[in-house]
């Protein structure tokens, strides 16, 4: 047997392609059935509208976008916005979740209690509710746009979010200058800004997923037999060393596959960002399908995007899993 992840990811993509082909064939067979209008419409799906100007704005993102740009670029902006929220949220979830998971097994009662309270609170309240609470807490508590809070040189915090200086490139390798945020009539403008919508979805998603990661990490650690820890102690290792050199490497074999699932659902949960006004791919699709009437095409794009992101996540985690898997079992 070759390392598990390396082979299993090829069939995953293959199965998806097969399922897509089977669905298309079923639609084609159903095209003549009277009363079934939809399949015929779906077969006539065409994506020509993607080249037309979108006609709506997108408030933030890595890509420059204005209403004169095409629907294709709007979707590209939406996808990058999904990544812009999901990737930092995943890093936060894994880092915080690992600490919480270890903390739930800590010898100190207070540490255990705090970690348990965190996990049980956050994983038992629906994510949508948490996002809305976080978002409205942010917009209520942040200072008004006409009285921003200065937290450092050129760093401002107000209801528009966190604004900070950002380097400007003029095509070369090195930044040619700094774009500094400035106060205007409607608050702070310029530089790089993290909007309350972005902060709400990234923090909300990261904090929520961390609770699940904590449980995965705890289960992984508890699966390592107590004798391993005792053996490490007998060799004279300190607590941190026992964990880092003996327990975690073995626990990772259980943690990584379960963590993959968690990261997949984190990416898909990022679609809840539409509720707090963050313009990710579902928000863009929602607007596009109302403007063009091309519901099938827009939903197909959303499905394809999430499928692709999920397969990429699985593939990357598969490679990592192969590295931490038990060796010598060929």
């Amino acid at each position: 047997m070759s390392p598990r992840g390396a082979v299993s990811r090829v069939p995953a993509a293959l199965w998806v392609l097969l399922a897509a082909a089977a669905s298309a064939a079923a639609l084609w067979l159903l095209r003549g059935v009277p009363g079934l209008e939809a399949p015929r419409d779906w077969l006539q799906a065409h994506f020509g509208f993607l080249e037309q100007p979108a006609g709506f704005g997108i408030s933030e993102g890595w890509l420059d976008f204005d209403s004169g740009h095409s629907y294709a670029r709007a979707f590209a902006t939406g996808v990058t916005n999904t990544l812009r929220a999901a990737v930092p949220a995943a890093l936060l979830a894994v880092a915080l979740g690992t600490m919480l998971g270890i903390g739930r097994l800590a010898p100190h009662l207070l540490v255990r209690a705090v970690c348990t309270a965190y996990v049980e609170t956050l994983r038992n309240v629906p994510l949508l509710v948490q996002l809305l609470m976080l978002y409205f807490a942010l917009t209520h508590l942040l200072p008004d746009a006409d009285a921003p809070l200065r937290i450092g040189p050129d760093v401002w915090l107000d209801k528009g979010g966190l604004a900070m200086p950002w380097p400007v490139w003029d095509g070369g390798w090195w930044p040619t200058g700094l774009d500094r945020p400035e106060r205007t009539a409607f608050g702070v403008a310029g530089g790089a800004a993290l909007s309350p919508e972005y902060l709400a979805i990234t923090l909300g998603l990261g904090l929520y997923s961390a609770a699940f990661v904590a449980e995965i990490v705890r289960a992984g650690i508890q699966s390592v037999s107590a004798g391993q820890k005792l053996a490490a102690q007998a060799l004279g290792m300190r607590g941190g060393q026992q964990l880092r050199l003996v327990v975690l490497p073995q626990a990772l074999r259980l943690i990584v596959p379960a963590l993959t699932n968690q990261l997949l659902s984190l990416t898909k949960n990022s679609s809840l960002a539409v509720a707090v006004g963050y313009p990710e791919v579902v928000s863009v699709a929602n607007t596009s399908l109302n403007a063009t009437g091309r519901a099938f095409e827009c939903l197909a794009i959303v499905m394809a995007v999430y499928l692709l992101l999920s397969l990429l996540t699985s593939a990357a985690m598969g490679i990592y899993n192969a590295r931490v898997a038990l060796r010598g079992w060929q």
Binding site: G55, F56, D66, D144, T184, F186, A189, V276, G277, N286
Partner: protein, 345 residues
């Protein structure tokens, strides 16, 4: 303002595909059905102040509600003989198509796509609406042209979202729009101070300011309108007799205002008016009701029930209501507005 979710849209598409086929098969039957049932079934909103909203006793009022009451008065002789059916935005056209309601009066924008593809016929515009902006007074803005660089909150998937981008481009005023899936989240974000302006149809802005703002006096609606949203009741296509009634009753109410007939003077004018135009509306001149399949007093009863259009407006959305919307485009053509009654003769 129109809004739909992807799945709801897909479901509606399925439903419509099935429903469109039998349309037009039962022409001329609605009036008979209404008379036999003894009530007009009127599709309304779940509650939009000034247009159709129930009070604490469950009594409906509003401009759209009065449009239905006028038809009930004309057809059945009693403005109370209306059965109100609350519908959401996605249900409304399907309900009309399926014959669950006789008339849809649910602040619905009349545009080509709906007129040509939904199997419904719009009757007469009862409110000329347009998209506008609500801003906090403390920003000291008096015109939408001063919104350059502002952040604007609105609901996603609506015509409003696209209208504001089109307007920003045409005016060369860059703005940032923050869009939310639900209407409630979008105005809550605005009232929390996240955005410098909120945009939707002006009539809804007025209701929002009165009902949802922490202090209504802290907010002001800017004078500019950036889109056209003509709101009109609609009937199912294929019943020309019913369509004519639904078209001419509101028309008679506008003509009543042109001719200075009011709820207060309608009885007295009926007794002693010598003006043939007034007489036709008051049932003492030529019998026009017969041509609609009604009796001679159809328009007299409608005016007596709800007043002329101007009175309907003032009572529900104008100076005598909580919304206090100006007449503006909804004034008569000879007073600077757009309302022009087709001649009732």
């Amino acid at each position: 303002m129109q809004k739909s979710k992807p799945l709801a849209l897909a479901a509606a598409a399925f439903a419509l595909a099935g429903l469109l086929a039998p349309a037009g098969a039962h022409a001329g039957k609605t009036l008979d059905a209404v008379k036999q049932r003894g009530s007009v079934k009127c599709g309304v909103t779940n509650g939009v102040a000034g247009f159709s909203a129930p009070d604490t006793q469950g009594r409906w009022s509003g401009l759209d509600v009065d449009s239905c009451r006028a038809i009930a008065a004309a057809v059945l002789g009693d403005p109370q003989k209306v059965e109100f059916v609350p519908l959401n935005a996605q249900q409304r056209f399907a309900a009309l198509q399926a014959g669950e309601i006789d008339i849809l009066a649910r602040n619905t924008t009349w545009n080509l796509t709906r007129d040509a593809s939904l199997g419904v016929s719009f009757t007469t515009i009862n409110y000329y609406d347009g998209q506008g902006f609500l801003v906090p007074k403390k920003l000291k803005i008096s015109s939408a042209k001063q919104l350059k660089g502002a952040t604007i909150c609105t609901q996603s998937g609506t015509t409003n979202e696209k209208n504001v981008a089109e307007w920003s481009r045409a005016q060369g005023l860059p703005v940032k729009t923050v869009v939310f899936e639900s209407f409630e989240a979008s105005f809550k974000a605005f009232f929390s101070g996240r955005c410098q302006a909120f945009t939707t149809d002006t009539s809804a802005l007025a209701g929002l300011r009165n009902k949802e703002a922490p202090n209504p006096d802290d907010y002001v609606i800017l004078p500019e309108l950036i889109s056209k949203e003509p709101l009109a009741p609609a009937v199912k296509r294929g019943d020309d007799e019913w369509f004519a009634i639904a078209k001419w009753v509101p028309n008679a109410l506008i003509e009543a205002e042109e001719l200075d007939i009011t709820q207060a003077n309608v009885d007295q004018l009926r007794a002693d008016s010598k003006d043939p135009a007034q007489q036709r509306l008051l049932g003492t001149g030529d019998d026009l009701g017969k041509l609609l399949g009604l009796d001679k007093d159809w328009s007299f009863r409608a005016i007596k029930a709800v007043g002329n259009y101007g009175e309907m407006f003032e009572r529900n959305v104008g100076a005598k209501s909580a919304l206090k919307l100006p007449r503006g485009a909804n004034n008569l053509w000879n007073k600077g507005g757009l309302l022009y009654a087709l001649p009732v003769k």
